[in-house]
């Protein structure tokens, strides 16, 4: 066996915005193994959620991740509304979907820019981020903040989109559509991008199923899953749209899926705006007096894939248990497949291709003995422990089936 070199990327690397550590084990220029280490971002959100009231948890979960700051409240709202058995009004559904899709557009634009940056194509980075700004302006107009929108609550939304704003939104969407054409041209017709991304970081259909990857990562490998269609929520069953898939499974296919999804998002928003005109203004929430005992699951399709929230209520004002699973949690595991065997220069774009989000993913803690520094629990044991706690809680409230 030849000598392996360890190349650390991170934790505070200029390429990444978030702290995380990749260890690339290389032989020559070929990556033989990859390990990743997190924990730099852990904030103990599930525990914090148990100390907050249902209204406050929304502000907490949207700060799980700044980029998907609608998806987490979306999934949490779905979970709590399942417990309370509430059906939100159509207007609230449309508004929720509009915010969700605007977020998808800005997140995909952000990814396209960063992917260009990783490839050394900084023009694409600057373009994509420039045309992301009008979307953020829309957010500021609708919700009052560029990120972290605070739009969701149990039973509806906090702010209405007045019908007078609809023309402005439609105008910005038309601009974004035009600029998406430009970006699609810049990516799809560029021979350099073809050379750098085609056949790089391939994930086959079997790999996706083995790693349980979700979102655009799965759809780019021909796995046709989308929570918006498979487990309909909000206004998605009320509008016409299609799920974008590609077959190749390489980085190029992932870019293609994301770019084409932006057109779908724009079309969904346009239809939702039409729907808004028909609904009565101000009819945006259902009053809920009490969250009964029980448990509920909520799912939502974030820009990166399926977000899953599980909430146990004991009838009090705050959740008794709140479990979150973010899409990057499963997507990051595919690095073992996509990066191994690539050259180091291709490894960076393979890592970036799944659009990993580490602040979503910070979940696992490894327990250490304080005196000896030895590991007293491995990953499997921690998962078993966590399952046990959830089961105990379910039994405590007589909810287990």
């Amino acid at each position: 066996m030849s000598k392996q070199t360890l190349i650390p990327v991170g934790p505070y690397h200029p390429l990444q915005e978030e702290p995380e550590l990749f260890k690339l084990y290389c032989e020559g220029e070929i990556v033989k193994d990859v390990k990743w280490e997190t924990g730099y971002n852990h904030r103990g959100i599930e525990k914090l959620a148990e100390q907050k009231s249902y209204d406050e948890v929304f502000f907490l979960v949207e700060r799980i991740c700044g980029i998907c700051s609608t998806s987490h409240p979306f999934a949490f709202a779905n979970a709590v509304e399942e417990i309370a058995e509430v059906e939100v009004t159509n207007r609230a559904k449309y508004i929720r979907s509009i915010i969700g899709e605007l977020e998808r557009i800005h997140s995909h634009l952000l990814w396209v820019g960063l992917a260009g940056h990783f490839l050394g194509y900084n023009t694409l980075f600057m373009w994509a981020w420039k045309y992301r700004e009008p979307v953020l302006d829309l957010f500021e107009m609708i919700t009052g903040n560029r990120n972290s929108y605070a739009m969701f609550k149990v039973g509806g939304v906090r702010r209405d989109i007045e019908n007078t704003k609809i023309t402005t939104i439609a105008k910005v969407l038309a601009l974004v559509k035009k600029k998406t054409d430009l970006l699609v041209g810049a990516v799809m017709d560029d021979p350099v991008i073809h050379a750098r991304t085609k056949g790089v970081g391939i994930l086959t259909k079997e790999d996706i199923l083995n790693f349980a990857a979700v979102g655009p990562t799965a759809r780019a490998s021909g796995v046709d899953i989308d929570i918006r269609r498979d487990d309909p929520y909000a206004a998605y069953p009320l509008v016409n749209w299609k799920v974008i898939t590609a077959q190749a499974g390489d980085v190029f296919a992932k870019a293609e899926v994301r770019l084409l999804e932006m057109y779908e998002s724009i079309s969904i928003i346009e239809q939702c705006l039409e729907g808004l005109k028909k609904e009565k203004e101000g009819d945006i929430d259902v009053k809920i007096k009490h969250i009964p005992e029980g448990y509920g699951t909520g799912r939502a399709e974030a820009p990166r894939g399926e977000v899953f929230h599980f909430v146990i209520s004991d009838g009090s004002n705050s959740p008794a248990r709140h479990k979150i699973r973010a899409p990057s949690y499963t997507n990051i595991a595919t690095f073992k497949k996509s990066c191994v065997g690539q050259s180091i220069s291709d490894a960076t774009i393979s890592l970036a291709a799944v659009d990993p989000c580490y602040c979503c993913t910070e979940r696992l803690a490894v327990a250490l003995d304080r005196n000896s520094g030895k590991r007293i629990m491995n990953a499997k044991e921690i998962i078993a422990h966590s399952t046990l706690i959830t089961q105990n809680l379910l039994q405590l409230h007589n909810l287990s089936k």
């Binding site: 934790p11 505070y12 690397h13 200029p14 915005e17 978030e18 702290p19 924990g39 730099y40 971002n41 852990h42 904030r43 103990g44 959100i45 525990k47 914090l48 100390q51 502000f59 907490l60 700060r63 799980i64 991740c65 700044g66 980029i67 700051s69 952000l110 820019g113 980075f125 600057m126 981020w129 420039k130 700004e133 903040n145 560029r146 990120n147 972290s148 989000c357 602040c359 910070e362």
Partner: protein, 137 residues
């Protein structure tokens, strides 16, 4: 003109330390570099190593794993260095201050020269904060 103000007269180079954050402030810092705000016209760039930087931007609440690393990065910085705490989490710990892994806001760990509040602060606010800091010293 003191040595410190001479150092920070123009072309500040920035190093970004993202603590346990939600990524919003990180994105807004990056946003400052993109065409609409474009701080590079003032000679400000994000650099890859703290050893080249004049300003240390810290955002996010600092957890137990980050704390020794932040201290080490501060020690590696060539002095004088300006430290800017960005966002509600950087200033006070924000919504995560009650978390079980929280190890104190930035100013409990290293001296801070400027606080930029907001969740997240707008790019304009970040720019205004850094410009104020340049005038102060």
């Amino acid at each position: 003109m003191s040595f410190k103000s001479y150092c920070f007269k123009k072309s500040l180079w920035l190093f970004h330390f993202g603590g346990a954050s939600c990524n919003n402030c990180d994105i807004e810092i990056l946003d400052c570099l993109t065409p609409r705000y474009d701080v590079e016209r003032f000679g400000m760039i994000l650099v890859g190593s703290i050893r080249h930087a004049d300003v240390l931007l810290v955002n996010g609440s600092i957890n137990k794993k980050d704390k020794p690393r932040l201290l080490e990065i501060y020690e590696q910085a060539p002095k004088p260095v300006l430290v800017v705490a960005i966002g509600a989490c950087g200033c006070t710990g924000g919504i995560f201050a009650e978390g079980n892994t929280f190890a104190g806001p930035v100013d409990k760990i290293i001296p801070v020269d400027a606080y930029i509040p907001g969740c997240p602060p707008k790019p304009e606010a970040i720019l205004a904060g850094v410009v104020k800091l340049m005038g102060k010293n």
